[in-house]
């Protein structure tokens, strides 16, 4: 492992490469700006190895589910997650080599192979901190290590996330997401962590257990494209606005396929959270057979909760729309009403 002082210099040098041109007043922590701490948190994943045990609590429907997971990370983009509890999750392993992820489910003796879930590599993009307000709430200790506590809020939206960033390594030791209506919707924290263990590559290489079934769950995630290109690819008019209520801005879209279903996947971000909008031809996708009716969006419209995600499905002009995001249903409904209004793009 590198000496902490050397690490800080490396981090600050990398962070300086991507500093935004516009200056904004930010509080400092020992001579380091809040943006530099945030960049440190992003870059740490590319330069620090660690292994630890994390406790994760997630709001699923009306209750919180607490999970224990063993998390190992090897720079720049390899990771290994082994879920330890609750019982229904125990033994689930997810290995990601930066290109592909493998999920082994012991009770099904099945490996699910899909695209990597590793964060983007390289210098943080200049727009990473656009449309969000980042503030420094102070310092706290997490498992005996000093951290800088960051709060991130979308400028035009609601909700917030907090990060406890290890002052030595930049690794986020604790993480929270809050919703103004639902309160704490997700939290995670390390109960122990070790750095620079020189973990072998084999730990991050998937080994399909003998006799296990391998299921491919999808191709690599395609890059985001302008709406016009997605329309052309699918031959499907996409009357999608540039912005949605709550400060969500269109980042781009892509054509996605699953079996015979072809749909447009439009990606909106508010600076902290993201919402996905899927548009398919009604002739290819029928009305949902589950969920709660949503009267504002007409007959057949439904809202669903799938794990931590909320979904809103409705039909308009021969197209089936689905909004997916970790937001309250009321927020998704206001977005859907904005989408259904006549507009000219």
């Amino acid at each position: 492992m590198r000496a902490p002082g050397t690490l800080w210099l490396s981090v600050l040098a990398l962070a300086a490469l991507a500093l935004p041109s516009q200056a904004q007043p930010v509080p400092r922590l020992g001579g380091v700006t809040v943006l530099e701490v945030a960049r440190h948190a992003v870059i740490a994943q590319q330069i620090v190895d660690y292994e630890g045990t994390k406790v994760l609590s997630v709001l699923r429907g009306d209750s919180m589910e607490t999970t224990t997971v063993s998390e190992a990370h090897k720079r720049p983009g390899k990771s290994r997650l082994e879920y330890l509890s609750p019982e229904g999750l125990a033994g689930r392993v997810v290995i990601d080599d930066g290109l592909t992820s493998w999920h082994y489910e012991p009770r099904l003796h099945t490996v699910f192979e899909g695209p990597s879930l590793a964060p983007p590599s390289g210098v943080p993009s200049p727009g990473l901190f656009d449309r969000k307000r980042i503030s420094l709430l102070g310092t706290e200790e997490v498992i005996g290590r000093p951290t800088a506590v960051l709060r991130m809020e979308p400028l035009a939206g609601r909700g917030e996330r907090r990060l406890w960033v290890d002052r030595t390594t930049g690794v986020t030791l604790r993480y929270e997401e809050r919703d103004p209506e639902e309160g704490l919707v997700m939290t995670s924290y390390f109960t122990r962590i070790s750095f620079g263990l020189n973990m072998p590559d084999a730990l991050f290489r998937p080994r399909v257990p003998a006799g296990a079934r391998v299921v491919n769950v999808g191709p690599p995630t395609a890059p985001l494209l302008p709406v016009a290109e997605v329309e052309k690819s699918l031959r499907l008019p996409l009357p999608v606005p540039e912005t949605l209520p709550g400060g969500f801005v269109l980042a781009g879209g892509r054509a996605v396929e699953s079996g015979l279903l072809r749909a447009a996947h439009m990606h909106y971000r508010d600076g902290a959270r993201s919402v996905a909008l899927f548009v398919a031809r009604s002739s290819q996708m029928g009305p949902p057979g589950r969920g709660e009716p949503v009267a504002e969006l007409g007959p057949g419209a439904r809202s669903l909760t799938v794990g931590v995600m909320r979904l809103l499905l409705w039909e308009d002009g021969g197209r089936r729309f689905t909004l997916v995001g970790p937001l309250p249903v009321a927020d998704l409904v206001s977005m859907a009403l904005a989408l259904s209004m006549p507009r000219a793009r």
Binding site: E71, S274, P288
Partner: protein, 161 residues
């Protein structure tokens, strides 16, 4: 002037009285001078007399019925104004193959998409969230693996669905 020899079929027509009066007179004049044609005419008359004397041959019993049956069997049936059953079945099968099967398959795929689409979309939305560098990776892993299990028709926590 000599009348030319006649063909056997003209002699036969003369005997049977089938020539015109002028032809009859002309042929008679020819016979007076032509011994060959007279011999021929005499020969034909004798044969004709012999044939007339013969009893008509008896028709074998049952021949008429057998022939009638054979004709009936080989007769091409008349087309009915109604299509034959085989044609109706073939047409129905064709309609099913060309219209009903695609319609039913399309309906089935539409229902499948309605059932599985939300799980596909949740997984894709989670994959897209991976682009957020601040997102907790253990949380992301949980969301995507749960979505994969739902896509496979399994409850993410192993409960009976």
């Amino acid at each position: 002037m000599r009348v030319p020899h006649r063909a056997a079929r003209q002699i036969s027509a003369y005997i049977d009285g089938e020539l015109t009066p002028a032809e009859q007179a002309e042929f008679r004049a020819h016979l007076e001078h032509c011994a060959s044609c007279r011999r021929e005419e005499e020969e034909l008359r004798r044969t004709s007399r012999l044939i007339r004397r013969l009893a008509p041959p008896a028709v074998p019993q049952g021949l008429a019925d057998a022939i009638g049956e054979l004709i009936e069997r080989q007769r091409v049936p008349r087309r009915s104004s109604w299509p034959r059953p085989a044609l109706v079945v073939a047409t129905a099968v064709l309609v099913v193959v060309l219209v009903a099967v695609p319609a039913l398959l399309g309906h089935r795929d539409r229902l499948r998409a309605a059932e599985g689409g939300p799980d596909v979309f949740v997984r894709l939305a989670a994959e897209a969230a991976a682009g957020d560098p601040f997102m907790d990776r253990a949380f992301l892993g949980l969301v995507t693996t749960d979505a994969s299990l739902r896509l496979a028709g399994e409850d993410p926590r192993g409960r009976t669905r």
